[in-house]
């Protein structure tokens, strides 16, 4: 855990290129992915309501399109969790560099 209390150091770090770069990289990833995912999930509901014949097509034995589509959400969401963990490790590295460079390594000035 990092102890850090000097207000002015926060402002200084906020204005560094490294911190701005961290935010840019992060935002480009953490906002679009959930938005696309929400649309993908609502698509399932729309399909179940308006394309019932399509969702009732048997696809794998007695399993219909609707069920396989539904199960795909579990696989996709777990996949997204995995991708996030990989990405977040990259952000962790950038954070470590910021702490290393702009604090005394312990986090204090």
């Amino acid at each position: 855990m990092v102890e850090y209390n000097d207000k002015y150091e926060y402002i200084r770090i906020e204005q560094t290129e490294e911190f701005k770069e961290l935010k840019r990289k992060k935002y480009r990833f953490i906002f679009p992915v959930p938005l696309v995912f929400i649309a993908y999930y609502l698509f399932f509901i729309v399909m179940s309501a308006y394309a019932q014949d399509f969702m009732a097509q048997p696809l794998l034995g007695n399993l219909t399109t609707g069920y396989l589509f539904g199960v795909s959400y579990y696989l996709v969401i777990w996949g997204l969790a995995f991708v996030y963990v990989i990405k977040a490790r990259q952000y962790d590295k950038l954070v470590d560099e910021i702490i290393e460079k702009y604090t005394d390594g312990e986090g204090t000035v």
Partner: protein, 512 residues
């Protein structure tokens, strides 16, 4: 008394003894506010992941969704999927910055760079609204289910659940609450694994075989395995979907779980573990529901009462050898005991969240303006948890005839409309200000509650608002009010505080 009844009571007793022992151990470690609200930040990512699952998987999920799937087939399955989907937002946008910028409550994060007293007060209103909807749904469900399972009267079962959770929370604080949730998650997943093995053996490890048996069933003239048996209004269903996916990240009692781990990395891994456990749960509960439809049958499930709630326990009875056999009765008693542990754990999480709001936000920061020592606040928090416990038992008894399944989605609706916009903007949007936050929280809650009151659930056929789920209107309204009010009013002039919060939330520098 027959063997199965004795076995059932022994199991109930064992769960109570185990959780009491955990509470006793936790009480020795709980000596201040940091311990009481946040378990001394001592949980690992995996432990907190289990506790998140224990907090989230309610009896409504275990018994209610199994019942919906067993009675309505495809539509029940579609409903079961929505509950995991919100965790993408929790993981990607909320968990880590939330962990880094707060201490004990949601209001700590929201009020970080805004004006403390108005924002904390409004945040307290939102959290109490969410917690109340959630609490009543749990308690009413608990009373009905315990009554159905072991025949104790409704009021008495509420008092038993209420007293247990008051002991857990007031003596053992967040540490005991977390461990009760962990124990519950392990018991629940274990019970489901056993059921799944039985089901798999019966159907030759092949879902298609199970579905083949089900393909002949029809509900109201429609095939059981196809869409359209339960939900007829697509707009209402979209509204429900939106509410579930956006509401999860706004549930106060879930968010405070991130304060029990030491770092943002641990918060991250706890969400991932939570997603693995919760996803597995909802997938398996759907299989259990389908198996119950095939093996128990609609008639027997309906005959047992509770709107399908008995689908899973009755399936356990069949899997164990059928009604009247020792195996069947013992298996059913085991599942009933697990359902009981499930209820107690969720309710304990709600009580401690409510206690945090009153003792930390309202008493310490709004009324006493932060001038309270930790010892005094700790005492107030313990007393508050008992007060909340007693008042929820009374509320639960009064609300006996409410439709529980719908109540819990109202908690999600308030979370998505009043909590989520404010949490996101306070972390990520510099121009966001105090009027925007207070306006969005109060009007988001008010709009949601109003639409519920004039909707079909309360007013029946005379409803002014046509949808059961207000989310599709109230969620955009909450976000819009937050943005418009912020832009129309003066900035807070706290740019230095935003810089501090921004650096702290993204890097963890200075996080407590």
């Amino acid at each position: 008394m027959d063997i199965a009844k004795i076995f059932g009571l022994l199991l109930f007793g064992a769960i109570i003894v185990l959780t009491m022992y955990v509470t006793y151990l936790a009480s020795k470690k709980t000596s201040g506010t940091g311990d009481f609200y946040a378990a001394g930040r001592s949980l690992t990512g995996f432990q907190n992941g289990l506790a998140i699952a224990g907090d989230y998987l309610s009896a409504a999920s275990f018994l209610g969704i199994a019942g919906l799937v067993a009675l309505y087939g495809y539509d029940g399955f579609m409903y079961s999927i929505g509950w995991l989907m919100g965790y993408v937002i929790v993981l990607y946008i909320i968990a880590e910055p939330f962990r880094n910028s707060g201490n004990f409550t949601v209001a700590d994060v929201i009020s970080y760079r805004l004006n403390q007293r108005p924002v904390r007060t409004a945040a307290a209103v939102v959290t109490m609204a969410i917690t109340m909807f959630y609490m009543i749904s749990q308690l009413v469900g608990a009373g009905a289910i315990i009554n159905l399972l072991i025949g104790i009267p409704y009021e008495l079962s509420l008092i038993i659940v209420g007293v247990l959770m008051m002991i857990y929370v007031s003596l053992g604080g967040m540490l005991a609450t977390s461990w009760v949730q962990i124990i519950k998650a392990v018991l629940l997943m274990g019970a489901m694994a056993v059921m799944l093995i039985f089901i798999a053996v019966i159907f030759n490890f092949n879902l298609s075989t199970l579905f083949g048996d089900l393909s002949e069933i029809t509900v109201d003239g429609n095939q059981f395995l196809h869409p359209g048996n339960l939900y007829t209004d697509p707009i209402d269903l979209l509204s429900l979907g939106l509410t579930l996916i956006l509401g999860t990240a706004g549930l106060s009692h879930l968010l405070v779980r991130f304060f029990t781990v030491p770092t943002a990395q641990a918060a991250r891994s706890s969400v991932v573990w939570g997603m693995i456990i919760i996803g597995t749960f909802y997938f398996v509960i759907a299989v259990i529901g389908f198996a119950s439809a095939a093996l128990v049958g609609e008639e027997a499930i309906n005959a047992a009462g509770g709107g399908g709630n008995m689908a899973a326990p009755l399936l356990a009875q069949v899997l164990g050898g059928g009604a009247g056999t020792i195996g069947g009765e013992i298996f059913m008693a085991g599942i009933s005991a697990v359902a009981f542990a499930t209820i107690v754990a969720v309710v304990a999480g709600l009580v401690i969240t409510g206690a945090g709001v009153f003792a930390h936000d309202i008493y310490t920061n709004v009324i006493m303006r932060g001038k309270v020592d930790s010892k005094k606040q700790f005492r107030v928090a313990r007393i508050t948890s008992i007060v909340i416990g007693v008042s929820s038992i009374i509320l639960g008894i009064l609300a006996k005839d409410f439709n529980v399944a719908q109540l819990v989605t109202y908690a999600f609706a308030v979370g998505a409309s009043a909590n989520l916009p404010v949490i996101i903007f306070s972390i990520y949007w510099k121009r966001f200000n105090t009027p925007g936050a207070v306006g969005a929280m109060l009007s988001g809650t008010a709009i949601t509650v109003l639409l519920i009151l004039i909707g079909p659930e309360i007013m029946g056929d005379a409803a002014i608002f046509p949808l059961t789920n207000p989310g599709i209107v109230s969620i955009p309204a909450g976000f819009a009010i937050a943005v418009i009010v912020s832009l129309l009013t003066k900035p807070d002039n706290k740019d230095d505080m935003f810089a501090e919060m921004s650096v702290r939330s993204h890097t963890g520098i200075g996080a407590e």
